[in-house]
């Protein structure tokens, strides 16, 4: 059978396909066979054309209503799976993707492998690679149940590149979000978009991240000043997000964003496994921490054992003087 048909789940965010979905489409093109997108959100000519450029020949378009669309989307996709029998379904490790993939897995009675950093197709076998122990080891898992195989992949595991040529505009297939009874009873009553200053965390060439080692929320100012001078984005550990110093949209790590900037500057963070998996593939890592045993020193290019409150102000002054 091999993998003849791959579907990639695409969440529309701010009029565009979520970045992870373009990464997944790019990866899926390497499997050969037919490639389709399942779009959840508002559609537009531009968006459909972009999905076409990334290789989608068909777009199944699900338009949300006032409900939290996850349960109904899973039901709609399960129905489509029954009709079209795709081999592989790809999702990203984001809130909505996880909700839909989990529900779909239960609905179809098919396993889902989450946290993928690599997906390999070899004849009938689909192998998924996960990182464990903060990325120190890789685990390869193969599906033993029959298709469809459901995979949830970590962002930034694959580059996002349009296919060769212009890419034909995909065939558009509108799909109704069905009634799913009580399971569909959650309603979205408000939406809050965090105002982001400076470059996007996932796109920035430099990320300056802060951790609990800064001591208190007011000490973030020097990190923000450094980021401003470098044109960098500010990142954060889970600890300071949970402590409400910065919003979740700044969180780097297993349960936050994955970043791969040219330079990652870690300020007062120890490098817990949960954080390392989100940043260890940065091209250059510079760490400042007063604890010489901090795990971050095991992955950095330059480690400074010292007090962030002394090093950072001097760095800021020196950059200003340039």
């Amino acid at each position: 059978m091999a993998v003849n048909t791959t579907w990639v789940f695409v969440e529309e965010q701010d009029g565009k396909p979520a970045a992870i979905s373009l990464e997944l489409l790019t990866k899926a093109r390497t499997f050969g066979g037919e490639l389709s997108a399942i779009l959840l959100g508002a559609g537009s000519e531009d968006l459909f054309a972009e999905l076409g450029r990334y290789g989608a020949a068909k777009v199944y378009h699900l338009t949300p209503d006032e409900r939290l669309p996850t349960a109904a989307a899973a039901a709609a996709i399960a129905e489509l799976v029954g009709t079209h029998e795709p081999d592989l379904l790809l999702f990203g490790l984001t809130s909505t993707d996880r909700d839909v993939a989990g529900r779909l897995s239960a609905r179809l009675g098919k396993p889902v492998i989450s946290n993928a950093v690599e997906i390999g197709v070899d004849g009938d076998d689909v192998t998924v690679t996960n990182e464990i122990f903060g990325g120190a080891q890789l685990v390869d898992t193969v599906f033993r149940a029959g298709a469809p195989f459901i995979v949830v992949a970590r962002p930034k595991s694959f580059p996002a590149e349009p296919g060769a040529g212009d890419g034909a505009t995909p065939d558009l297939i509108p799909v109704e979000l069905p009634a799913v009874g009580q399971a569909g009873g959650a309603v979205v009553t408000g939406r809050h978009v965090e105002q982001q200053e400076g470059p996007q965390l996932e796109e920035a060439a430099i990320v300056v991240s802060a951790g609990r080692g800064l001591g208190s929320v007011d000490k973030l100012a020097v990190v923000e000043e450094l980021a401003g001078l470098l044109g960098a984005a500010v990142g954060a550990t889970r600890a300071i997000v949970d402590a409400d110093w910065v919003p979740y949209s700044r969180q780097v790590g297993q349960t936050g964003k994955t970043v791969k900037p040219d330079v990652y500057i870690a300020c007062g963070l120890s490098g817990a496994m949960q954080h390392l998996v989100g940043m260890k593939d940065s091209k250059m890592i510079i760490a400042i921490n007063k604890d010489e045993e901090a795990p971050i020193f095991g992955v950095c290019d330059l480690g400074i054992v010292g007090d962030v409150h002394k090093v950072l102000p001097k760095l800021v002054e020196a950059l200003k003087a340039r």
Binding site: D14, A71, R103, D140, G303, V311
Partner: protein, 252 residues
């Protein structure tokens, strides 16, 4: 309200994890701890139960060991626990886990099911959604704030761009982030009381669940290592070395 809180015992994250070289399963010592992220779910469950004169039942799957982690959650104030420990579940995938947990939850009856967004040892982060689908109820996921309004639960659902306000009538599954509430510490009285709280141990056959794991680990290998870099003590001029490196990287 009848609140069911999904909890997991995991090897103490402070000591190194080990995998069984033959089965590739995580080795689980008898002494396991409550997954730290579950403390938030337990606290949320206790708060809802307190507001509604309800009860909190813990539900857990996995090698039970000496049940130390379950007792930690009982010591916080949960009323009882249901633990599914069955040798056939070793290496179970998320779908099997969700089948078992939803089987145990339906058997008890529930108004609210609470879980963390993902466990600290497995991180798959899809089991609560699978449970919600099996139970045919909404999943209010990634809650960073939870409010109870009569029979309706309203949450702030964390997303990549901010958060959404989402609400649903019970019965419902909620997944909570760390930071949703400040978990209470067990009191001495709570710790003593936990010793005599009921822990109901059930098997998969009692739940009518057939174990059928649809995936298999075929290899574990070391990841390409990052070469260790230069480590220096700050002598007052370390910032100059940072600037040299930034110049080298051509970002300044």
């Amino acid at each position: 309200m009848r609140v069911m809180v999904c909890v997991k015992q995991i090897p103490d994250p402070a000591s190194p994890y080990e995998l069984d070289p033959d089965t590739h399963f995580l080795q689980r010592p008898a002494d396991q701890v409550l997954d730290d992220t579950d403390r938030y779910g337990v606290e949320m469950g206790l708060m809802i139960a307190e507001q509604t004169e309800g009860s909190v039942t813990l539900v857990s799957m996995g090698p039970s060991g000496n049940l130390q982690g379950i007792r930690q959650a009982l010591a916080m104030g949960a009323d009882k626990a249901v633990v599914v420990d069955d040798p056939s579940l070793r290496g179970a995938d998320t779908l099997t886990t969700a089948r078992v947990l939803s089987g145990a939850i339906s058997r008890e009856g529930f108004d609210v099911v609470i879980a963390g967004t993902e466990s600290t040892d497995g991180y798959s982060g899809v089991v609560p959604q699978q449970i919600a689908e099996f139970l045919e109820v909404p999943a209010l996921t990634f809650a960073k704030k939870v409010e109870l309004d009569g029979g309706t639960i309203r949450i702030e659902r964390q997303t990549e761009y901010g958060y959404d306000i989402v609400e649903a009538p019970t019965p419902v599954v909620i997944t909570v982030t760390a930071g949703v509430v400040e978990p209470r510490y067990p009191t001495f009285k709570g710790i003593m009381a936990a010793k005599s709280k009921p822990i109901d141990q059930v098997t998969t056959s009692e739940l009518g669940v057939t174990v059928d794991t649809g995936q298999q680990i075929i290899s574990i290998r070391p990841a390409p290592e990052r070469t260790a870099g230069e480590i220096i003590e700050d002598d007052g001029d370390a910032h100059l070395r940072i600037i040299q490196l930034l110049e080298q990287a051509k970002v300044i």
